[in-house]
Each structure stands twice: as C-alpha cells, then as structure tokens.
Assembly symmetry: C2
Homo-oligomer: 127 residues x 2
C-alpha cells in the first residue's frame, strides 16, 4: 500500500461499501448464476468496489441463510468444483427493492455534497 492517497481513500471507500456490496452481488447474479471467485473478479474489475474473499464469502453465506440465493455445485475443467449462486424470488425482489431505493439515496448524497448550506431561512434563531 502506498502511504500517499491509499489511507484516506481506502478509509472513505471502505465505509462506502457497507451495505451496497450485498446488492451489487445480487445484481451480478441477475442474468446468470455466478460462483465466488467470479464475483470477486467482477467487483475487482469495477474498481471502486474491489474487495476480498473474507468479505464475499461471509456475505454469500448470509444471502443463503436469508433465502435470497440458492446454490448448486458444478464441476470445473480447471480446478475444484464451483458453487454457483443463483437468485431466488426473494433475492430478485430484494434487488428490485434496492433498485427502487438507490436513486433517491444517491441523489440525496449528491445534493448534500454539491449544494451550499447557508443559514437556514426558516430555522434557528435569527440572532
């Protein structure tokens, strides 16, 4: 890790991932079942959401525990068998729910970051 920007950027980005990662993983399974390392690589390719196995596998366990995904073992031509994760109906519903909520959240953050916040015209004492 370079000591220059990695510290602050990593800190901000790490907190940012919280909660969003779950739904990005669900989104990755939307059109096709995926297996662990594949998800890891897709997140890595996105840049801003790169993470580690220690994050993804417990996350996948939670998704399975909550019946958002089902898994099937499938043999591979280049290594041990892979566990493929596919969305259940609940998983698809959760993904759609998040897709509905996300724009409002995103725009709210954008507004906070870009809009000036002068003295509130109708709140606080005018003194």
């Amino acid at each position: 890790m370079e000591p220059g920007d990695s510290t602050k950027q990593a800190r901000a980005a790490a907190q940012l991932r919280k909660g969003v990662l779950e739904y990005c993983v669900l989104a990755l399974m939307r059109d096709r079942p995926r297996y662990g390392v594949e998800l890891l690589q897709a997140l890595e390719d996105s840049g801003a959401l790169a993470t580690s196995q220690g994050t993804v596998y417990p996350l996948l366990s939670r998704l399975r525990r909550d019946d958002l995904v089902t898994t099937t073992w499938q043999e591979s031509t280049s290594g041990p068998p892979r566990r493929y994760y596919a969305l259940t109906e609940s998983g698809r519903a959760a993904l759609e729910e998040f897709t509905r909520v996300w724009p409002g959240f995103r725009d709210a953050v954008d507004t906070f970051l870009t809009t000036p916040h002068p003295a509130h015209p109708s709140t606080g004492d005018p003194a």
Copy 2:
C-alpha cells in the same frame, strides 16, 4: 410499521446509510457551524438519510475525537445552550476526499444495477 414495503425499504436504506452519513454531516457543516438537532432536522428533510439522535451524537463524538470538527458552546434564545460543530482543516480535507471518491463509487453502483451481466466474454471456462 406496515408489513408491505417498510420492512424491506428500511432494511435496504439502513445498510445504505453506513459510512455515508459521516460525510453528509461533514458536508452540512461546510458553510456554517451546526448543532446536533439542526443536523438531525436537515437529514430528516432530505428524506433518504433520516436518522435518530442515537446515531448522530455518537457520530459527532467520533468526529471530535478524530479532530475532524471542533465545538463551541453557544446560548440559545429558546432552550438550553447548543454545542456548535465546525469543520477543522482535517475535516475539510476528509470531506473533499470523499467528494472525490464518491462519483466513482456512485457510478460503479449505477453500472451494476443497470447493466446486464451476461456470460463474461473473456473470463471463465469457455466450455
């Protein structure tokens, strides 16, 4: 709580807030010192980031502990004195850092949610 959407929406939104709240609070202090209840109301007004005192005050304590904000007591005309929070240089730097990181993160999530994810053309076994 209505059993329909509130549960899922609340769940998704709650996880979403994690990590972002800190920087939205810093953003609210960018142009003017703020006090606790004022921040709470501003977040409430935004809709998507509404939260409670039990979230904001520990957050403000952390910001002060990490020297991202300084505080000054100021008397009020309508109640007990207020503790106003103002950005330090570190706090302003952290806010700017987040402002730099946020667009990339936001766009990455947008891409995951809106882009179809068919079989990867250059990854995975071609079988």
